[in-house]
């Protein structure tokens, strides 16, 4: 059984390393600041205690006030998982750091989020639309897209 | 050794009197038409056999709606394709595009001039018959390459490159295995080759030559597992991707005509040609040719396709050395053994075949073919 790690406990362990980057932690998920997202996931991936070597999925949700990105991380070694969330504000050009250099599987998913949700990823090697054509206006999965 | 019959028998052929107006010209014309008709009918029969056989091997039925058991299906197909619009891409090399099917189809029909359907029943008993076959059969490759180039389509171009590479490589094992048959016969005439198989078909005397000729011939006529030039899963339809209508029919004719010619050639060289008890000679010939075609279709329905570098490796590393060795062994046997001593040759040759194939199989390994880029 894949153990969903309690985000509270993980947060307690991460707090000394990343002070003030964890906004909120409840039972299911860890909400972190987008600036420290890359370092945090990088730490989670490389630390043997966590060893999150496998990225299940990335997705984004439009809450109108902000966009929430949801990262599902899994460790195949320890068979546990963790949900990390981050928020980005503003509808013009919301930006979060890309984690493609950590997980290559993030490549297409981040492009997909950029295409459909309009969130740019800093440091992504090929930030282009993936499903829709280049001249397409708007980002269809946003709630205000009609 | 097998003695060559010096009196080539032309008697069975119903010749027309030379004092007809025009002399022999009528004779040539009439029999040319007859042979072309026979070839086209046989191509249709082959298409029908192939479709039904592949159908049954795939647990289907195959075409069965046109006529009894669907025997008119090839005719219906031909009519359908002939009536289709000839679509021509905009950016083609028009002259070559139009010329290519003609260049491809003419040599295939020419070859049948020297195929002995009965004893001496052929259009021209050339004394260089087999050389003529080898020479002419390569020309249709030019047509294929012209088609691939003129279509201005990348798939066609890849296909054309493949076919040139394959034909150039496979011509050699084919010729060498034919040469070892010719050593036994001592004549280049196609009819003499059949006459020489009076006692025993050459498939028993030349098992290795037969295997090499069959494999290399499959590659020459691009049938499975060497059908790289029209590998539908890779390069769509190969060189005739851009062809339609009557030009497509001509290429189709080339494909099946070559296959029929190949089975005729195998019949002549290795299976004793028109020889056989009870049935008329021409029927024996057709039956043997159809049997060879059955095997070709059987392989077609079963085997995956090889890759281009594996195709080349098979030719140069496997078939060519074996064909050379076979030629040398045959030459020694012909020189050293007394005539008619095929009781010695058969076991020796079969043993040599088994040993050589086992030895050469050790040379190949899996998983190669990656190129660092």
């Amino acid at each position: 059984m894949t153990v969903a790690l309690s985000a509270k406990e993980v947060a307690a362990k991460l707090e000394p390393k990343f002070p003030a980057s964890i906004i909120e932690s409840n039972k299911d998920s860890l909400l972190v600041k987008s600036e420290s997202l890359f370092e945090l996931i990088s730490f989670l991936k490389t630390t043997p205690e966590f060893d999150f070597n496998y990225l299940s999925s990335i997705t984004a949700v439009d809450y109108l006030d902000y966009f929430e990105l949801v990262y599902h991380l899994t460790s195949m070694e320890h068979n546990h998982s963790l949900v990390i969330k981050t928020r980005c504000y503003g509808r013009g050009n919301p930006t979060v750091p890309s984690i493609v250099s950590l997980y290559e599987g993030a490549n297409v998913q981040e492009r997909e989020i950029y295409d459909l949700m309009g969130i740019s990823f800093e440091g992504h090697p090929n930030m282009k639309r993936i499903f829709l054509w280049d001249g397409f206006e708007g980002h269809p999965l946003r709630k205000d897209y009609l | 050794m097998v003695i060559v019959n010096p009196n080539v028998n032309l008697g069975n052929l119903p010749t027309l009197s030379p004092d007809w107006p025009g002399g022999f010209w009528w004779h040539w014309l009439l029999f040319t038409v007859i042979i072309i008709a026979v070839v086209i009918v046989m191509i249709m029969v082959n298409v029908y056999i192939a479709r039904r056989q592949v159908g049954r091997m795939q647990s289907r039925v195959g075409p069965n709606r046109t006529g009894p058991f669907g025997i008119f299906q090839p005719l219906a197909d031909a009519l359908k394709v002939l009536l289709k619009e000839g679509i021509e891409p905009a950016s083609i090399d028009r002259l070559i595009y139009w010329l290519a099917p003609v260049v491809a189809v003419v040599p295939v029909l020419l070859i049948f001039a020297v195929i002995p359907f009965t004893d001496g029943g052929m259009l021209a008993d050339l004394n260089i018959g087999i050389l003529y076959v080898v020479a002419i059969s390569s020309i249709s490759t030019v047509g294929t390459f012209m088609a691939g180039w003129a279509s201005n389509n990348k798939f066609s171009l890849i296909s054309a490159m493949r076919v040139i590479a394959a034909i150039v490589s496979y011509e050699m094992p084919v010729v060498l295995s034919i040469a070892s048959v010719l050593l036994l016969v001592g004549s280049l005439s196609m009819n003499d080759i059949v006459l020489a198989q009076q006692d025993i078909p050459f498939i028993l005397l030349q098992p290795l030559g037969f295997v090499i000729f069959f494999i290399a011939g499959l590659a020459e006529i691009s049938r499975s597992p060497f059908d790289l030039l029209e590998a539908d899963s890779e390069i769509v339809a190969g060189f005739f991707t851009e062809y339609s209508g009557i030009k497509f029919v001509l290429f189709y004719l080339v494909e099946y005509g070559e296959a029929f010619f190949f089975s005729c050639l195998i019949t002549t060289l290795f299976l004793g040609g028109w020889r056989g008890p009870a049935l008329p000679e021409w029927l024996w010939f057709i039956v043997k040719a159809v049997l060879v075609w059955f095997v070709i279709v059987w392989l077609w329905a079963t085997l995956p396709r090889v890759r281009i570098d594996q195709l080349m490796a098979l030719a140069w590393k496997f078939l060519l050395p074996l064909a050379l060795i076979n030629l040398i062994i045959t030459a020694i046997q012909v020189l050293a053994l007394p005539e008619g001593s095929w009781w010695v040759m058969i076991p020796v040759n079969f043993a040599v075949t088994a040993v050589l194939i086992l030895l050469w199989s050790k040379l190949f390994k899996l998983g190669w073919g990656r190129v660092e880029v």
Partner: protein
């Protein structure tokens, strides 16, 4: 001495016999060797995630049929599991077993197509493909019997399955289980040891373990690299913890191993179905759930081991009758992400079989 050659760009697809849909590869070739590859997707994009936001929770189920249309049952299962997780619905025992039986039948069905079309890409002129379609037809018959449709089953419901199985289903399934092992043996006889197939697929398109995990690749492609990761064992959903089965793995991670893993998984699926039939309880197949499900505010992530790999649905609810956000974790899209690394340096013919061995479905890639 190297001859200077000019690379050229070959557009394979969107309409090409072996791209399994409307996939397009811009391959840069040097002669026949692939030096670069850029996948271009989106030709089948229908905006399923956006459509799902406009429909009721039940109304999304027919949409999930059309994602990976080769294995609709698995998509149904993943989706309804997500909704049940969201709404906290407990599914009756019998329904769980029926779901497992259907999902495993679907796995066999999908692998038959995957292996068959892989052989077809290798150039075996449709014969193994049609032989496998014959067995797929038997499974499709069973699905038609229970759900009334042959491709888009729409069988699973929130809180169970739509209807109980008819009485003639179990005898037919028994016959199928009796026939299938012999059919798989026949496939093995057909091409398992075929020298040409070995030469074509052994050592071709090797994917390493680290690369596979890093690229989020799942399913038989991951297991062929030797990673024993199967969500049915790693995170047993439904009633999978009650069955005994092995996870077949490969060692080299090449095309041949992927094909072998799929064949081995078919045998394991038969084992699971046999056990499920023995344990199949009686009782209701569906709990009473209102037509318009209104799950509480929250989010749920449910993943299953679909035939192609990890398929997951991420649902966010705002306590209305339609999901606020429905994200589909695309198995096929992620499995494709290593295609470029696998194919570079191989010939164009290898590119086709590497692509075929990944087993993707464009309905799921583009959504």
């Amino acid at each position: 001495m190297a001859i200077r050659t000019e690379p050229f760009v070959l557009n394979m697809g969107p309409v090409h016999p072996s791209t399994h849909g409307v996939y397009r590869m811009r391959a840069t070739l040097d002669g026949e060797v692939v030096v670069d590859l850029e996948p271009v997707i989106g030709y089948l994009h229908r905006g399923v995630e956006k459509l799902a936001e406009e429909r009721t929770y039940t109304g999304v189920i027919p949409l999930t049929d059309r994602l990976d249309y080769i294995s609709s049952m698995s998509n149904n299962l993943a989706y309804v599991m997500a909704v049940e997780k969201l709404a906290g619905i407990k599914v009756p025992e019998r329904a769980e077993y029926l779901r497992v039986i259907m999902a495993e039948l679907q796995r066999i069905c999908n692998h038959l197509i995957a292996v068959g079309s892989f052989f077809n890409d290798c150039g075996a002129y449709f014969t193994p493909f049609l032989h496998m379609y014959r067995e797929r037809e038997k499974i499709i018959d069973l699905f038609e019997m229970v759900s009334g449709q042959r491709l888009t089953y729409n069988y699973m419901r929130v809180g169970g399955v739509s209807q109980d199985i008819p009485e003639e289903f179990l005898p037919a399934l028994d016959r199928f289980l009796a026939q299938m092992p012999r059919c798989i043996d026949e496939y093995d006889l057909f091409l398992k040891e075929n020298e040409i197939l070995l030469a074509r697929s052994k050592g071709v398109g090797i994917l390493t373990r680290e690369k596979a995990i890093n690229c989020s690749i799942t399913g038989p492609v991951l297991r062929a690299t030797g990673v024993k990761w199967d969500l049915r064992k790693a995170d047993p959903y439904s009633v999978y913890d009650r069955f005994e089965f092995d996870i077949p793995t490969g060692s080299a991670g090449d095309c041949y191993d992927r094909y072998r893993v799929r064949i081995a998984e078919m045998r394991q699926s038969l084992r699971i179905i046999e056990q499920a039939l023995k344990q199949l309880p009686s009782g209701p197949v569906r709990v009473e759930v209102p037509h318009l499900v209104r799950p509480p505010v929250g989010e749920a992530y449910a993943h299953i081991e679909s035939p192609k790999g990890e398929l997951a649905f991420y649902l966010v609810s705002d306590n209305s009758i339609a999901p606020y956000r429905c994200h589909i974790r695309p198995t096929s899209l992620l499995n494709l992400s290593a295609l470029r690394d696998m194919a570079i340096g191989w010939k164009i013919a290898d590119l086709i079989i590497i692509f075929g061995s990944i087993d993707i479905c464009l309905g799921e890639v583009d959504r």
